[in-house]
């Protein structure tokens, strides 16, 4: 695996980690807002 591929795979890993945590946070805050509206 050359440097470019290694950096690309790290980028993908970083994004998937951020996306998973961020997605959970989005769902949590959405839940809070919906609960508040209800």
């Amino acid at each position: 695996m050359d440097d470019a591929q290694r950096i690309e795979s790290r980028k993908q890993l970083a994004f998937y980690v951020c996306f998973t945590i961020g997605g959970l946070l989005i769902l949590f805050f959405l839940f809070v807002l919906l609960l508040h509206r209800a």
Partner: protein, 511 residues
């Protein structure tokens, strides 16, 4: 009030701890911002510093929620915090994707509108504007439209101005502090809380982002702070808003807002100029393409160092923020009159700031001859087959006739174009004939400040033919120009101090 101070200190401390952590993570993962023709920095620097601001804001907010839940009377409303964080998280993820792989401008805009729309859906928006002497203006569905436009505008404004170390984050901290003072004076302590926490997070981050920056905000950070500011400022508006406050809010962030408006106008003008020159319809897509003509680029071209340019714009922002705060707090119609005066005076002031005083103070610097970094200097050759000089270290690119000078100067961000010997006549269309008359020569061409004209700065002797080196270098601002800017900086500081001091004194009295 002490709770606000404590929250600010906690947010700053968290950002101070989290930023180096994010920085190390980026270095380990190799996620770096590499220098190129358009960017000002010279070394690869970690991005994603904005994630530290996001985390500091999130953790401080959750801490305040916990404090609230165990029974302390603190100004915290969970639904508002959740509103900021919901849209903020969407924006952060969009920014992270953009930092990693470059998201197209159109898709980015759609994501921003979605994030702003979701937040505006859950917000209590002002339904009317009170205009002194006229009465109430009912907004109806327009209030939702205004809210989305405002949030998208602030997010993009702070993203576009993020061109030099510490500029965008400093402007955001100044805006957040100014608005928090407005909120404190209006007894809207929960709004002041979000703003103080945001200002604290940004100030903690600024410790590492100030020139020379060890870490950058990244698109994610710049979009997040702009978005959070846009949303929080809307929280501060009651159901009926005095017109003075409506004017004071954008005036506080006038520098990034005007920069984004001027950038769009400038690029639209160039797109039409280009279509006139080349025929066909204007390529409006180029409006979203970055260039090197933002306010800070102009200040750098005028000879200021990065630190001076940032200080200059920060001082101006402080002056604007303080004056806008005073305008928002004065009883009507004094506040409205002051805000209106600022709105008229500001474009004139910014024009004065961005003025580079033409070529009288710009001279070719022989010390820079041949030292240009690749990507900044272009050798333009109308013959697409010609590749002369491309082995030289200072020659970055050779483009064909069909692309031409406009392509180089406008879209690709070059500072200087060198026209090859005996090839100048073909270029005369773009260069108003001045180069064509002097052939054979190499010419240093500089785009004028309004972006419309190309100025001939000097010809450096005849060329025997293709393959012969041409003289390439940079035009430097003379000492005279730098002195002029130092004088302006001095007067700006003198003007800023009393207003800032008066406001600080007012805030201290309330504490």
């Amino acid at each position: 009030m002490l709770f606000l101070l404590l929250a600010g200190v906690v947010a700053t401390s968290l950002a101070l701890v989290l930023t180096p952590w994010i920085q190390r993570l980026c270095l380990a993962a190799g996620i770096l911002d590499l220098p190129d023709a358009r960017k000002v920095h010279a070394t690869a620097t970690p991005r994603f510093g904005g994630a530290a601001i996001y985390l500091a804001f999130l953790l401080t907010g959750l801490g305040a929620y916990w404090y609230h839940e165990i029974g302390y009377a603190v100004p915290f409303r969970l639904e508002r915090f959740a509103g900021i964080m919901l849209g903020g998280t969407i924006i952060l993820l969009v920014g992270i994707y953009d930092d990693l792989w470059d998201l197209s401008a159109g898709r980015k805009l759609v994501c921003q509108i979605v994030a702003a729309g979701v937040v505006a859906f859950f917000l209590e928006l002002p339904s009317a504007v009170v205009i002194p002497g006229i009465g109430e203006w009912q907004l109806g569905v327009l209030s939702w439209l205004f809210a989305v436009c405002w949030i998208v505008a602030t997010a993009n404004a702070f993203n576009l101005i993020d061109g030099i170390d510490g500029l965008s984050s400093g402007l955001a901290a100044i805006a957040a502090l100014s608005w928090s003072m407005m909120a404190m004076h209006a007894d809207r302590l929960d709004v002041a809380f979000y703003l103080v926490v945001l200002a604290g997070s940004v100030l903690g981050f600024l410790r590492y982002n100030a020139a020379p920056a060890k870490v950058f905000l990244g698109g994610c950070g710049a979009l997040f702070i702009g978005f959070a500011l846009g949303v929080t400022s809307l929280f501060g508006l009651e159901s009926s808003v005095p017109a003075g406050l409506v004017l004071a809010l954008p005036l506080t962030i006038a520098i990034p807002l005007l920069d984004v408006v001027l950038a769009f106008l400038r690029r639209a003008r160039r797109a039409t100029a280009r279509s006139r020159l080349e025929g066909g319809t204007p390529r409006w897509r180029t409006i979203f393409e970055p260039d090197r003509d933002h306010l800070h680029h102009r200040l750098l071209r005028a000879g200021l160092t990065r630190r001076q340019a940032v200080t200059y714009l920060h001082l101006l922002a402080m002056l604007l923020g303080a004056t806008a705060t005073v305008a928002a707090l004065r009883p009507p119609p004094a506040g409205e009159v002051l805000a209106l005066y600022l709105a008229i005076a500001l474009p004139v002031a910014l024009r004065w700031i961005a003025r580079t005083d033409g070529d009288a103070d710009l001279k070719f610097d022989p010390r820079t001859e041949g030292t240009e970094a690749p990507g900044r200097v272009l050798v333009w050759d109308p013959d697409p087959e010609a590749r002369w000089g491309s082995d030289g270290a200072w020659i970055a690119d050779v483009v064909g006739a069909q692309e031409g000078v406009l392509e180089a100067l406008d879209r690709r961000g070059y500072d200087v174009v060198v026209i090859g010997a005996a090839l100048a006549p073909d270029a005369s269309r773009a260069l108003a004939g001045s180069v064509a008359q002097r052939q054979p020569c190499a010419a240093l061409i500089r785009r004028s400040d309004d972006g419309e004209r190309f100025e001939l700065l000097g010809t450096e002797g005849a060329h025997a033919g293709l393959g012969e080196a041409v003289r390439v270098g940079r035009c430097r601002a003379t000492a005279n120009n730098r002195r002029r800017y130092r004088r302006r900086l001095f007067w700006l500081s003198i003007l800023s101090l009393p207003v800032v001091a008066a406001l600080a004194l007012g805030a201290c009295r309330r504490l």
